[in-house]
């Protein structure tokens, strides 16, 4: 039972029992050990069977040989017996034709007969109707017994020799066999002539033949009575042979070999040969044990050796199987380790093929691990890149829902990763942009478009609106089926605002330029109005243009925010500096662009006027410009331009452009008052305006 368990790993016995025998057999056969055992058996069993067959064939051969030998021996013995008979027969013939016998000259015949016998244990017997007349067994002249009967004459015939069956000799008192014949004497009476041989003489013949010790040789008469035997003659001579042999003798079987049991109870193989002449049979028997013995021993040895081989072979096969299966089984650990990504060290099992596999697994493990590492590194890089990219990257599935988002994407709309995954990508798209986004994505999935870029408005988690530029790329599998889309989102809120600001700035710039052109147009119109000399007009025009330009330069330096009043005054006076003396004083005031330009142009007019008619037209002339803040909260700006040291001032007859610009234009521009007076000492101009307008706030 344990053996089963060991074989069919981890299976419950109950389950085993439930399965059908074929599956069981197959699962048993699937083991290496079982197969090796099977192999061993497959090799040994036929070999043993062949050996067995060889032994059996050998046995059969031996037996045939023995039987042949037996048969030949029995035949040979039969011939010997016949020869014996022949001798006796010859003697009989000689004697039965003796004239002395025919003349019934018994004494003479007696002497003759005695002299003629050369066969040991043989005597001659002659009988007439009354009884024995000659018996060479007895000493000559002995009284001879009379016949009880003449039964033994029956069967004998004149001119014919009959071999008798075994009989007990009357005189000899021992078993004997006779060659008989009948003759007719001269006087016409019949005589029974017999040459008788003692049975033990026959036995001696047998013995003299030199049969092997264990063999049995016997001669049986026509009745089946044992006449002679090479062994235990005393016991068996005169007894019937074994019933089958008796049967064979009586039924006249010529020859043959049979299995038999001897008279002393030994199973034998027996050969019988019948002499056609005498009708006697010679039997030669060999104990069966002699034939079968060796074979049986061989078979036993073979069986023992076979059993040993089978047992030992199976055990060895089992062992060897285990020694092979174990390293192979160990390979499964290596393979598992390979699958898990654990390093595999090539083990040496001593088995070439297994070691090769182990080395291959080890190499594969190394390669896989390297590839794994490289892949991991690459994945990590990719992930790190994606995660840390400054642009928002998201992966969207077919249903438009987020599969993955990077850090930047979370920051874009202010959601956490958990809040985004599973959401639809348009979850915070403003309604106005929704349709485009969804339509394009649908085309993406349908396979109509691989990449698209769109701008859409979105709502940040904290509520503020933003604009995003989305580039979506579809990732397809080999069949072109949409797998997912990669969306790269740029926050363009700032850019759009900047674009808008730029547009505004450009518009503003355009406006300013247009305005400035309009101002230049006005300056030109004013400069070239009236009957002025074109040269003068041009000069005036250029002068004003330059003043305007300087004012712009100043403002540009201050980024068009505000210019210090000092700079404005200086710039305006600059072209008119000669040896004249200027004076400036006042607190720092930052003048707004509009007021700065207006003041610059106004000062230019004042200077031009002073240069033509006033303080700047004389070397000792002097201009003094002072300004200060007054009023509550110092909200009123006051500036005073005072000329002195110039030629006598004469008030102008009519209002020229300059005075008009200064008195009316500037006043209106600054939302204050400008007084232009012409005292004799020198022109005086007083400008009063709210500080807020001066500063352009």
């Amino acid at each position: 039972m344990t053996w089963w368990r060991e074989h069919v790993r981890g299976e419950k016995l109950s389950v085993l029992k439930a399965r059908d025998p074929r599956t069981l057999a197959r699962s048993w056969l699937s083991s290496l050990r079982s197969r090796l055992v099977l192999l061993t058996l497959a090799v040994l069993v036929p070999a043993l069977v062949a050996a067995g067959i060889a032994v059996y064939a050998g046995y059969l051969n031996d037996r045939a040989e023995v039987e042949k030998h037996l048969q030949e021996t029995s035949r040979a013995l039969s011939l010997v017996v016949d020869r014996q008979f022949g001798q006796a027969e010859a003697l009989l013939w000689a004697l039965s034709t003796s004239s002395q016998l025919l003349a019934k000259d018994y004494p003479a015949f007696d002497a003759r007969a005695r002299a003629a016998i050369r066969i040991p244990g043989t005597w001659v017997l002659v009988e007439d109707e009354r009884g024995q007349v000659i018996n060479t067994l007895l000493p000559p002249g002995s009284a001879l017994p009379s016949l009880g009967n003449r039964d033994h004459w029956r069967g004998a015939a004149e001119g014919n020799v009959r071999i008798s069956n075994l009989f007990m000799g009357i005189v000899a008192k021992r078993p004997a066999v006779g060659l008989d014949t009948l003759i007719t004497a001269a006087d016409g009476s019949r005589l029974f002539v017999s040459v008788i041989t003692r049975a033990d003489t026959m036995s001696q013949i047998l013995i003299d033949q030199g049969l092997p010790q264990t063999w049995i040789g016997a001669i049986i008469d026509r009745n089946g009575t044992v006449v002679a035997r090479n062994r235990d003659a005393d016991r068996f001579v005169g007894q019937p042979a074994t019933p089958e042999n008796v049967q064979r003798a009586r039924s006249g079987v010529r020859q043959g070999v049979w299995e038999s049991v001897s008279l002393d109870g030994i199973p034998t193989v027996l050969a019988l040969s019948r002499s056609p002449g005498s009708g006697w049979s010679t039997i030669v028997a060999v104990p069966q044990s002699e034939i079968t013995g060796p074979a049986r021993r061989t078979a036993l040895v073979l069986a023992a050796a076979g059993a040993l081989l089978l047992g030992g072979g199976t055990a060895v096969a089992w062992r060897v199987g285990r020694s092979i299966a174990a390293p192979i089984a160990d390979l499964t650990f290596d393979a598992e380790a390979l699958g898990r990504g654990v390093p595999v060290v090539a083990r040496t099992s001593g088995m070439l093929e297994v070691d090769r596999v182990a080395r291959a697994l080890s190499a594969a493990s190394t390669e896989l691990r390297e590839r794994e590492t490289a892949l991991q590194a690459s994945e990590e890089r990719l992930r790190a890149t994606q995660e840390n990219a400054p642009v928002a990257i998201a992966e969207i599935g077919r249903d438009g829902r987020f599969l993955s988002v990077n850090e930047a994407r979370c920051r874009l709309t202010g959601h956490t990763r958990d809040e985004l995954i599973g959401q639809h990508f348009a979850h915070v798209t403003a309604p106005g942009s929704l349709d485009d986004d969804l339509a394009l994505f649908a085309r993406h999935v349908a396979g109509e478009v691989d990449t698209y870029t769109t701008e859409s408005e979105f709502t940040h988690k904290d509520g503020h609106q933003g604009w995003a530029r989305v580039t979506s790329t579809a990732i397809r599998n080999d069949d072109g089926v949409f797998r997912y889309a990669v969306r790269v989102v740029e926050d363009i809120t700032e850019r759009r605002a900047a674009d808008r600001r730029q547009k505004l700035l450009i518009d503003e710039l355009n406006h300013r330029v247009k305005n400035t052109l309009a101002v230049v147009q006005s300056i030109a119109a004013q400069s070239f109005k009236g009957e002025r000399d074109p040269k003068d007009a041009l000069q005036a025009f250029q002068g004003r243009l330059l003043a305007l330009s300087e004012a712009h330069n100043l403002l540009t330096r201050e980024s068009w925010e505000a210019a210090p009043i000092e700079r404005i005054v200086e710039n305006a006076l600059q072209p008119f500096r000669g040896s004249n003396h200027f004076d400036m004083d006042g607190p720092m005031i930052r003048v707004g662009p509009k007021a700065a330009v207006s003041l610059a142009l106004a000062f230019h007019e004042l200077c031009t006027n002073a240069a033509k008619y006033g303080a700047l037209s004389a070397p000792q002339g002097h201009v003094r410009i002072t300004w200060f803040l007054e009023g509550e909260a110092r909200s009123v700006f006051r500036l005073r331009w005072e000329e002195s040291g110039g030629p006598e001032v004469r008030p102008p007859t009519r209002s020229g452009f300059g005075s008009r610009l200064v008195e009316r234009g500037l006043a209106a521009e600054l939302g204050g008052t400008v007084a232009l007076r012409y005292p004799a000492s020198g022109v005086v101009c007083e400008i009063v305006a709210p500080l807020v307008i001066i500063e352009g706030r």
């Binding site: 109005k529 142009l601 209106a668």
Partner: protein, 120 residues
């Protein structure tokens, strides 16, 4: 000349441009009701004065002169826009109001004034 004697309100924040505009309108024989360079005085003049037509600079110190335009519309007084911006302001209520882009020639100004008088 149909512009002769018409009373005109000028709203313009650029001093020199206002001066030249005054001269041009005066040369056309028109009467200057007032020249406002800031929104507050412009609204005041627009409400109170007898005006036949107004020339409004849209941009007044960064702000818009629309409140003055609205008063004009309310009072049914024709007016034209003058602007440094390149685009026309003719949307909504101001659709149909002529827009002059600076710098404009006197001829353009005359044309716009006549047009607006025709329309009213």
């Amino acid at each position: 000349m149909q512009l002769e004697g018409k009373r005109v309100l000028i709203v313009e924040d650029e001093m020199l441009v206002a001066m030249t505009l005054e001269d041009t309108l005066l040369d056309l024989g028109m009467t200057i009701v007032g020249t406002a360079m800031h929104l507050a005085p412009a609204i005041e003049l627009a409400r109170v004065c007898e005006i036949d037509v107004a020339v409004l600079d849209i941009n007044l110190h960064g702000g818009r002169s629309y409140p003055v335009a609205d008063i004009m519309l309310q009072r049914g007084i024709p007016f034209i826009f003058a602007t440094g911006y390149g685009h026309a302001e003719g949307t909504g209520a101001y659709a149909g109001i002529p827009v002059l882009t600076k710098p404009y020639s006197p001829a353009d100004l005359v044309g716009a004034l006549i047009k607006v008088f025709k329309g009213s």
